[in-house]
Subunit: 147 residues, 2 copies
DNA sequence: CTAAAACTTAAAGTTAACTTTAAGTCAAGC
DNA sequence: GCTTGACTTAAAGTTAACTTTAAGTTTTAG
């Protein structure tokens, strides 16, 4: 069993944030001795799940719902499974979006490398809509196609 | 040239958000006729860059700085290049993190599939620290190694 | 037994990125 | 010329996720 200070150290999360999570119902079965929180294996695993669900873009209130399902027992396995499936879809979509962002950043890096080499953006602007080097044309098109 | 309503439609961004961006200095050279904003090609491209930099995790105040550099001219090519390089690093790191998150989500999907098939988590908990199927062991380890 | 460190609470404060409101101005069609 | 829809502003409001504060309690070390 750990104190809030030990968990704070272990996960590099401020104790105030852990208390906030507790207040929000993210550790529904946490024990206490003399008013002081005792984090057990259950809470440590909960915190790993919290970090995962947060990273997937889920809000605190929905993480609370998940934790409530865990307390409810086997009857909520389906709901929990469905939640993780939905989060997977969201993360996969976010990965696609981030890869597009990376394409644009790579294009911009090349763009400024070229502008620096040329001393101005004039040459670049002359080739701009569709006379770029093939490698760059792909990146450019993927960022400038239909909004 | 476009009105704010046309750009709002085009990018699916509320007009109030576009006005907010303008107030924050994200369109430093935008023209007006009779008080009304006219978005030209410069602003359309700026908006694409804004969306890219935002998606990379950059804050509005720093996007404003970038736009100011663009107005300053060729002397800031180096700074702009550096910004995109830094953003690339940040996005690459975010991609790594998101892939780890995806690993955990995949593990949890398998976990609940198994729990549903078994009717309880008992079998699962018995194999839990290190007796999982090899495929799952990898995912599990990557989410439970040292905090 | 006592002092200090670590814990507790409720309530107020912070921050970023918008969003809404209220009151008014501009532009297009009839 | 007038109505209507789209635009304008400044200022206040919203939301999520914390963070800080102030006052007090519990645990630990000597």
């Amino acid at each position: 069993m750990y104190t809030i200070g030990q968990i704070s150290e272990m996960f590099q999360i401020p104790a105030s944030t852990l208390r906030y999570y507790d207040r929000e119902g993210l550790f529904p079965e946490m024990e206490r001795t003399g008013g002081i929180r005792r984090f057990g294996e259950r809470e440590v695993e909960a915190l790993r799940v919290i970090e995962c669900l947060k990273a997937s873009g889920l809000e605190i209130r929905d993480i609370k719902q998940f934790m409530a399902w865990c307390v409810e027992g086997p009857s909520t396995y389906g709901l929990r499974r469905q939640l993780f499936e939905t989060r997977k879809k969201a993360v996969e979509e976010e990965l696609r979006q981030l890869n597009k962002t990376l394409d644009m950043l790579n294009f911009k890096c090349w763009y400024y490398d070229t502008a620096i080499a040329d001393g101005s953006e004039d040459k670049l602007n002359a080739m701009l809509p569709d006379k770029l080097p093939p490698k760059m044309q792909k990146l450019y098109d993927s960022c400038h196609s239909k909004e």
